[in-house]
Structures are given as C-alpha cells and as structure tokens.
C-alpha cells in the first residue's frame, strides 16, 4: 500500500514539473502556438482517479487535459510535440493542447467545448457494457460544464441505461473569471444534482490524492459491477490563469482574492501527500527532490525532442478529413 501511495505522489510531482517547465517555455519562447490550460495545483484529481483505472478503461477530458493525459500514462514526448505543432505529436499537429489522445494508454481524447465529452464517455461506457466487458469510461470536466444542458442530459441517459461511466467533476470554483456563486445557486451541490438524476455521487477533497484515489477505486468497482454510473465532485483549485502560463491573482489582476489563491496554494496536493508519507518515510523530501531532478531532465529532453521534430507536411493538410478523400 505504501508503495502505491508513494507512486501517487511521484505521479503528481512528475505532472507538476512537466507543467511548470512547459509553462516557462510557453511564456518565454512563444513557440507552442496552442491555447494551453495548465492543471498546476489540480494534480491530485487526475492522479488519484487515473491510478484507479485499468489500461483498458478509457479516459476522456475537457480542455484542461495534460494532467489526466499524463496520469493515464499518455506518452510525454508525443504530448509535448503536439504542443509544438509537430508531426510527431499525438495528434500529428492537428489537435493541439485541447485535442490530446493516446489510445494505447486508454486516453481516449480531450475536447474543448464545455461538457461535450460527458455524453461521449456515456456512449463508450455503454458500448463496453454491451460487449460484456468489465470496463469503465471516465470523463473529466469542470464545475462550469455542469451548467451545460448536456450534463443533465448525460446524467439521465447514463442512469437510465446503467452505463459504467465515472463522471469526474473537478470543481475549481471558477469558469475562466466567473465564480461559481455567480453561476450556480447556493444549496444544491453538483453532487446533489447528480444524485437527484439517479447517479451515485460523492464529494471528496480533491487536493487529497489518497482520498480521491480511494473514492475512485470504489466508484470504478461500482461501475464495473454493473451498478450504473457514479459521480465524484472533487474540490480543487487551479493556481494559474484559465488559459496560459501566468499567475493571475496578483494585485489589481483579479477576479479572485489573492488571499484565497494563497490559501489554496498552501493546500498544495503534493505538499499534503508528502506530509502524510513523511510519517512512514522520513526521507520523502529527499525523494521528492530527486524526482524533481529526474522529471526535469525528462521534460527538458521531451522539449528538445519536440523542437527537433519536423512540422507536418503542408501537402498533407487535408489528410484525415475524409477517408477516402472525396473528389
């Protein structure tokens, strides 16, 4: 169990180092020409959930896709090459940050329109169950997506078809700059609305990777046993701006109070996990430092690799739009 818990921390550190490094390069180079939504501060949701999946389970996400992609085992070099628009990218430079995919790892795709991958996961989950397979589909989305009509439609559809789908709501309190209080009434939570639709649902501290992981294991067992859909509402917080590499809680920038952001940064999921593990492993901080160095080398290597790769051939502009290409 300890090794499993250490692995959760390690995966979070890897994602943090990758994203912080990418954010620096994104800002300084102006070469990753794709709108990029960093998950820095939200690593526990992606890692806790994805570590509970099997390779055969599929994960879909919304635009904030890097952390679940990496947590699910998506290829780092292919992701970075995609950000640089290269042919070696996971979507061969056609998708960008918001359209990542790694089918071999079970990362089935990310997409950018709020809520649109929610029913997609229901359909995949239903197809799995129809084939008699004990597999689940997982879909990550934010609190903002729960305001889309398709969220309510999908809860209902999943419940009535008993689809083995795990809905993962990363409630980070803001839709771009709009606070949840301006968008959703006080009272019924996202969890409550799922439950009202007939979907088993729980709220979990989304910055506690161990709690998220346990909840996801329970949820996925429920799905695979044929007990129907499940929703996790995970409270978390993004540290950076909605899209782009910067912080946006400084003086005069703000739609969110600096004190609020600082309080959430103090609840860093990596620090909290290390605090827990330190009781059993006094050397954990040294281990984390070693990981930071290791993953720093890995992401710098991936960036160097991506930069060396060729751009797609312009002659192949239309490839894939149709198969066969129409006359």
């Amino acid at each position: 169990m300890t090794s499993g818990r250490t692995r959760l921390l390690r995966d979070m550190v890897r994602i943090r180092v990758v994203e912080e490094t990418l954010a620096d390069h994104y800002r300084d180079e102006q070469e990753m020409r794709t709108p990029t939504h960093f998950s820095i501060g939200q690593e526990a949701t992606a890692v806790g959930v994805c570590a509970a999946t099997d390779t055969r389970d599929w994960v879909y996400t919304a635009h904030r896709s890097h952390a679940p992609y990496l947590a699910k085992g998506g290829d780092l070099k292919a992701m970075v090459a995609e950000l640089y628009g290269k042919q070696a990218g996971c979507s061969h430079g056609r998708g960008g940050s918001i359209h990542l995919i790694d089918r071999a790892a079970g990362f089935a795709g990310s997409a950018a329109i709020l809520g649109e991958m929610i029913p997609v996961a229901v359909g995949t989950a239903w197809a799995f169950a129809r084939g008699g397979e004990a597999r689940a589909a997982v879909t990550f989305f934010g609190d903002g997506a729960t305001e889309e009509g398709v969220f309510a439609e999908s809860l209902n559809l999943a419940a009535v078809r008993r689809a083995p789908v795990l809905f993962v709501c990363e409630n980070n309190l803001y839709s771009i700059s709009s606070p949840i209080g301006a968008r959703q009434p006080a009272g019924p939570t996202i969890r409550d609305r799922a439950e009202a639709a007939g979907v088993t649902a729980v709220q979990v501290d989304g910055n506690d990777v161990f709690a998220v992981h346990e909840a996801a294991r329970t949820a996925l067992r429920h799905c695979r046993e044929g007990s129907g859909p499940y929703l996790l509402e995970l409270a978390t917080y993004r540290w950076r701006e909605h899209v782009g590499p910067g912080f946006d809680h400084g003086d005069g920038q703000g739609y969110r109070p600096a004190a609020e952001t600082e309080a959430w940064i103090a609840r860093c999921p990596i620090v909290r996990a290390a605090d827990v593990l330190r009781e059993q492993d006094p050397g954990i901080d040294r281990t984390v430092a070693e990981w930071r160095a290791l993953f720093g080398d890995e992401i710098r290597g991936a960036i160097a690799y991506a930069k060396e790769q060729p751009f797609p051939d312009v002659a192949a502009l239309l490839d894939g739009a149709y198969q066969p290409v129409p006359r």
Binding site: Y60, H92, G95, I113, M117, V122, T124, A137, V150, A321
Partner: protein, 345 residues
C-alpha cells in the same frame, strides 16, 4: 426488378445492414413505437428488439454525444430524428466532434461513423419549426457526408453506404417521399457519396435538384416537353461531397441552369450549385442562373400561406420558360407531389 416504396427501401437497408453487422444499433425518440418512424424501423425492431432499436430520452445533444462515444468504442450508431428541426439540438456533437474526430486526432486513430437520419418536409401546418430541411447546414462542414436521396433505390443504397463507411453521415429524408415506389435492388449494395445521376435527359435547360425537388423537376420537365422545351434533370443525390462534374457537364450542354431546393436560397444548396458553375464553366451560361427555393421567411401554418411558401413543379416550369424566353401562364397548374398528403399531421 421488384419495386419497393421509399420507406420499405430504408427499412430493408437497415435490416440487411443490422443482420450483417452486429455493431449497428438504432437510437432515437420513439423508434420502437407502433408507427416505427414512418415504417422504416418497424421490421428492425421486430427482428432485433429493444437492445438494438433503442428508445432514448428526449436529449438530442446527449444522444448524439453518446453515439460519438459508442462509435469511438467500436459501435455503429444510426440516430433518427422524426423531425429534423430537433437536430439543431445535436449540432455540437455532430459538427464539433463527429465531423472533426478523425482529423483533429491526427487522422490515424479512426473516425466515428455516426449516421443520422433526419425526416423533413411539410405535412400540413407543420410550420416554422417542424418542416425545415437542414441539409445545407450540415453540408457546410468538412468531415461529414450529407445526402438527400430522391428515389427508393438511392434511399437504400446511400443508407447502406453510410452504415458500411468510415465517415459520419447525415441523411435527409423528405417525408413526402415515403410512399413513392421504385425499383430497388434486393442486395445491400452501397451507392458512393458524391456521385449524382441524370434523372431525365434533355438539352435546353438543366434543372439541378435534390430530394423531393427531383420529382417536382421531372413533372415540370414532362409539361415543358409539351412546349418543346427539353429539360435535363440532375439529381445530385449527395450534397457533400457534391458531384461538380455531372452538374458542369449538363450545364455545358444546355447553357441554362435552374436549381430547385426545399430550403432557403441564401448560403444554401442552390447557392453552392450556382457557385460551382460560376467557378468552373462561366462561359457556358447563356442566361442567368435561376434559383427556386423557399421565400425568406420561416414556414407558415395557414393553408394558403403554406401553399404559397413551398416551391414545386409549377415554379420550376415558370423558371425554365423564362430562361428560354417564353411567356409562362399558358399551361395548366401542376399540383405538388406533396399535395396528396392526408392528415392528421
């Protein structure tokens, strides 16, 4: 060859494809009911039951997204809307996901071949939001195939092609075509998208039409023959891809073009056909292009307004006569194909 009605041809294609491929399933509101989507899903439900002919919640957006996810997982969904106006609620999954899926994930991860049938057309008093034909809306987007078959054989062949292909497809069916009969091959052979047909040969005027308007054009051509005008009717069959060649070859021969559509002219099918001719063979035209389409208002309900709103054979006759320099008005009025419609809806 034996004859079938248009609805029987669709039913036969559906059943044959479902028997051959267990991954095909039907999803739509009420597809399992006693009327069976104008009869088209009745036999499929009788043969394959509720696990493959699925009545879904009134959630067009989620159902289309569900179909995308099922297709990504290896299934072949056939979605049905008995009023195509509801397809606007499914635009996001069809346009932002299905149409783009293969391309935006790099072209080599597979597509999501979601097939959507949308029923369109006037019954009586269907009005503004129950009789529109959204074929041009969907035909705008790269990544989709869009067809509006006019004959029973094409209704079967294009549906077979859709259910065996790799591209998401929107098929538009005018409800007034369901009772029409025609020869239909017994086997399930596909008709490729992007290949039009000459519905009637002629040399003086080309009428390019789709769906119900092919029949209106053929009836108009019969009457115009009595005036010594020979009309060639081109049935494009599919709007995307569009068979530019068959259109241009016909217009190069006749020098005159009328485009007949069941939707609006602006930015629509008739605009596209006119553009194809203007771009490829501008020198061929001996007269201006005429477009026969819906007037620029929503569809009305009241009977006389509805009669005035929908284009038909009479309008095509008049347009062709004018292009040929003849005065209209001396021929008996033609009743539209849809005029034989019996209630209650």
């Amino acid at each position: 060859m034996r004859t079938l009605t248009y609805w029987q041809a669709i039913s036969e294609a559906t059943v044959q494809c479902m028997a051959a491929d267990e991954s095909i399933f039907i999803a739509g509101e009420g597809v399992d009911d006693i009327k069976g989507t104008f009869g088209t899903t009745k036999e499929a439900f009788a043969r394959f039951g509720p696990n493959r002919v699925i009545d879904v919640p009134n959630s067009e957006n989620a159902t289309a997204g569900f179909a995308v996810g099922a297709a990504a997982g290896g299934m072949r969904p056939l979605l049905i809307h008995t009023r195509a106006d509801f397809m606007f609620l499914a635009l996001d999954p069809l346009v932002n996901l299905a149409a783009k899926w293969r391309y935006m994930y790099g072209g080599d991860k597979g597509g999501v071949p979601v097939v959507t049938r949308g029923v369109v057309g006037r019954g009586w008093g269907q009005g503004a939001t129950h009789s529109q034909s959204p074929h041009a809306t969907f035909a705008h987007y790269a990544g989709l195939h869009v067809a509006a078959p006019a004959s029973p054989a094409d209704a079967k062949g294009l549906l077979v092609q859709a259910l065996t292909g790799d591209t998401p497809v929107v098929l538009v069916e005018n409800r007034n075509l369901y009772p029409l009969t025609g020869e239909v091959p017994a086997e399930a052979s596909g008709i490729p998208f992007g290949v039009g047909r000459i519905a009637r040969r002629g040399g003086d005027v080309t009428v390019v039409a789709t769906s119900l308007m092919v029949h209106e054009a053929e009836r108009a051509a019969g009457q115009l023959a009595e005036r010594g005008i020979s009309v060639e009717v081109v049935d494009v069959r599919s709007l995307r891809p569009l068979d530019d060649r068959i259109i241009c070859e016909s217009v190069a021969k006749t020098g005159r073009l009328v485009v007949a559509d069941t939707s609006w002219a602006r930015y629509g099918f008739s605009a596209e056909v006119a553009a194809v001719v203007a771009e490829n063979i501008p020198e061929a035209l001996t007269a201006p292009v005429r477009r026969l389409a819906l007037p620029d208002s929503p569809a009305p309900v009241s009977w006389p307004l509805e009669e005035a709103f929908h284009p038909g054979a009479g309008g095509i006759v008049e347009a062709c006569l004018r292009l040929c320099g003849q005065a209209p008005g001396e021929l008996p009025a033609l009743a539209d194909v849809a005029a034989g419609f019996q209630g209650p809806y």
